[in-house]
Symmetry: C2
Subunit: 336 residues, 2 copies
């Protein structure tokens, strides 16, 4: 299928035709074959004018926090309000395990079969940077196909949360109603990225949930958290919220949606939505450039042949690390 045919199917296709075109387009974008890459770039460039109006919601939380249950409840609620919802995943472990637990359709039984929803598991190969890039591109496909609410989920481990916060308009952190968990998130610095913290399963321990809510609220109010100068240019700033929900009981989903709408309205009015997307797009470009430079360097024949000895010399303390770096850089530059 050509890029033009895929474009037609994604943007103008109906029902099953569109669904198949979305899947094929994403598969093309995920391909690592060089001849597919030119086609993929052609498709991306064609799709771009049809993107930009959807809202991009990132949701993170450790395994067991109830992400799938919440996303299914949220997705069905939003569809009820007339939206079309796409769910994508960034799974840092999928490159190791080969399987993708996140975005697993069997975990979202009702949402996955809904004609107004599209669910795509995590790309199952590549580095985290590669997986994140594929997910960003898949997001553009879903958006061009008319999905106006994009949900990107990830697990609360490692760098994947940063990657998801860096590709969405609003980043939501899900927590359980016990101490420890939120302290972990505070400790890892992830809390700083949250626009909203959800305490799920609040009904299982209302007292703990209320305590956790107060604790997280106070941690979010620490100096240094808000009022970054870059944010202070346009009017009022968003103050992160901490809400209690019970996804299994469907409690709090409407309150959450109201908070998202409020966030979106404020960020649009104060210019932060546009500013954030511009920053994200440039950061994404530079991240891909850095990754490309690193790959080309490691694959350079002269570097490849020098590297093992250089690394051994550095580890053994025979050559300073900065000297080794300069030697290798020079080897690449002078033999190209």
């Amino acid at each position: 299928m050509t890029a033009a045919a895929l474009f037609e199917g994604v943007v103008h296709g109906r029902a099953a035709v569109q669904r198949r075109a979305i899947a094929k387009a994403i598969t093309l974008l995920e391909s690592t074959r060089a001849e597919h890459r030119a086609q993929a770039d052609e498709l991306l460039t064609a799709l771009l004018p049809h993107t930009g109006t959807a809202f991009r919601l990132g949701i993170s939380g450790t395994p067991g926090v109830g992400k799938s249950t919440f996303i299914e409840a949220l997705g069905l609620h939003l569809i009820g309000l007339g939206h079309r919802v796409a769910v994508l995943a960034v799974d840092p472990s999928s490159s190791v395990s080969g399987g993708a637990i996140l975005g697993d359709k069997t975990r979202m039984e009702r949402l996955s079969v809904h004609e107004k929803a599209y669910i795509r598991p995590s790309p199952s190969s590549g580095t985290l940077g590669g997986v994140a890039e594929k997910t960003r591109e898949a997001m553009l496909v879903c958006e061009a196909a008319g999905h106006d609410l994009l949900i990107v989920e990830t697990v609360g481990v490692g760098q994947s949360e940063l990657a998801v916060a860096g590709m969405t308009d609003m980043f939501v952190l899900m927590q359980l109603p016990h101490a420890g968990d939120e302290l972990q998130a505070i400790k890892k610095g992830v809390m700083e990225w949250a626009d909203l913290v959800l305490i799920n399963k609040a009904d299982t321990d209302p007292h703990a949930a209320t305590q956790a809510q107060a604790q997280i609220r106070s941690s979010l109010r620490l100096p240094g958290q808000h009022g970054r100068p870059e944010n202070a240019r346009h009017g009022a700033l968003w103050q992160p919220l901490v809400l209690q929900v019970s996804a299994l009981q469907g409690q709090g989903v409407d309150r959450f949606c109201a908070a998202v709408a409020q966030f979106r309205a404020l960020q649009t009015a104060n210019g932060q939505l546009v500013a954030r997307r511009e920053r994200q797009a440039l950061a994404w470009m530079w991240e891909r450039i850095d990754a490309g430079l690193a790959r080309a360097f490691r694959e350079h024949p002269q570097v490849k042949s020098l590297l093992p000895r250089m690394q051994a010399d550095v580890v053994a303390g025979r050559v300073a690390a900065s000297t080794a770096a300069r030697t290798l850089l020079l080897a690449q530059a002078t033999t190209e």
Copy 2:
């Protein structure tokens, strides 16, 4: 002065001669002029066999926590035990302000004039990566000159703490005896890097200090903090300590030194000291390679001429970030 002459002065010079040679060697290593770089690499390679036995101690804390007072007390105490002490600084703000507050000799009046001590302020130009590289290299000079205890200080802001933790054998975080501060450190994830946390000025508020000590201890015991698999290979592992001191009164300095000695003995016995240095050296090499690749990319004529339009297209949503990245990478690769 040739690299060979500088080497002689640094390694075999006496008193004032050696002191001058150290200063000149560090100045040479800090030079960004291309013709100095070859000389600098020659000097570094010659000095390396004379390094590796000193202990490298990183000390971080927000302004006002009492770093200088503590380092002076510690340095004089160590000199009293027969050591030679060098104090270096990584100041992330020095590239902006041009001045270096850290490692300022006027703040360590007694230590700075001691013949067994050498104090060097932060390199005052370049990116944080550049400043860190210069400090690493200066550390090697001081070590080759016979300083067996190297202290690298930094302020508790931004990435500089990670840089210092990544160039030292033991990373110490200084805190004040009030809540808030240590929560900040926990939040930023810096606490995870600390091998030891010092609560300074404990005498000004003994109750708060004891409370902070308990709070930090409990946060350091959270799951995920210890028992990383890579650390579990050789015997007993270090458990981070939280100590109270009062640098101004000289209280707790001997207890701190005992803890450092304990840490060093354990890390030597379980193989972690060597493993950490090997990891640091390789990470340092790759960091300098990445920085060099990024610089060469940005300075490439074809990239320079394409970049403004590409960035504008990406920001405006006309070209996908990944497409722009590939276009720029191709432009560099095909016109070299």
